[in-house]
Amino acid sequence: MPEHIVPIKTYTIVLVALLVLTATTCAVSFIDMGKINAVVAVAIAFAKASLVALIFMHLRYSRRLMLVVAAAGLFWLGILIALTMGDYLTRGWQ
């Protein structure tokens, strides 16, 4: 796959977006929204991580194979957490 060179301008835009998202997640955490707080925090973290992975780590411009490898890691982490919590959260059930 021919090498794709990402211009510095793109990196700058991503950096600004990351800083704005950081300010957002920090500000929002001071507002009491009950359980929504955790959902918003994790959603913003995933948005930031996606920006870093897709642009800084060039996943968007790489072979699909790299995307599959990265997604496999997340998928297995999902299995780890889902099955563990499947145990802990159902211990009180009769």
Binding site: E3, V6, F30, F56, M57, V69, G73, T84, Y88
Partner: protein
Amino acid sequence: MAETVVADRHAPGAARAHQFDNAEQQRDAATMGMWVFLVTEIMFFGGLFASYVVYRALYPMAFAVASQALDVVLGTLNTVVLLVSSFTMAVAVFGSKTGRRRLMLGGLALTIALGLVFLAIKFYEYYQKYAERHVPGPSFAFPAPYTEQAKMYFTLYFAMTGLHAVHMIVGCGLLTVLIVMARRGRFTPDYNSPVEISGLYWHFVDIIWIFLYPLLYLIGRHLE
């Protein structure tokens, strides 16, 4: 003969080791190898993230109250430092791919400097936690009724940020090696995989912090 090939790999214009068909395949193999390593790193940190999810689900109030003991200003500052360091790392990789050696060297040096700033702030925070007797152990102290549960939070805090800090130290070491190699003219637009994949590692460590920051620093803020 094999030795000659390995030595030649670092020479400009002879960027390919003999087991690869072409430079492109060699580059893809290096990138792929790094991604597979990073997946094992996801699982390495994943055990700690899973423990965090379990104990936060069990003790939500204790985690929120203990989280307030962290310094949100320093945590946010460190997030900014690390995000900017990812940007300078991306610029260094750009410099290596376009053959701009001074841009690459400047990017690498700035990235290391920002990494060291991050570590300095982190260790100052550790010192604060030590002074406040929040380090789990015989001298641990936290107001009732959350004393024991807060100990679990701080155990996870030190394990997760500690493992992350170790990765930062390794990253600074890697980048120092890159600077030495770059000064010797080892990288060309045709051969820059070490810069590219060390960049992948650095960005990965950044991503870990992107999750640690809200999970450790921000969960109790709305109760203040």
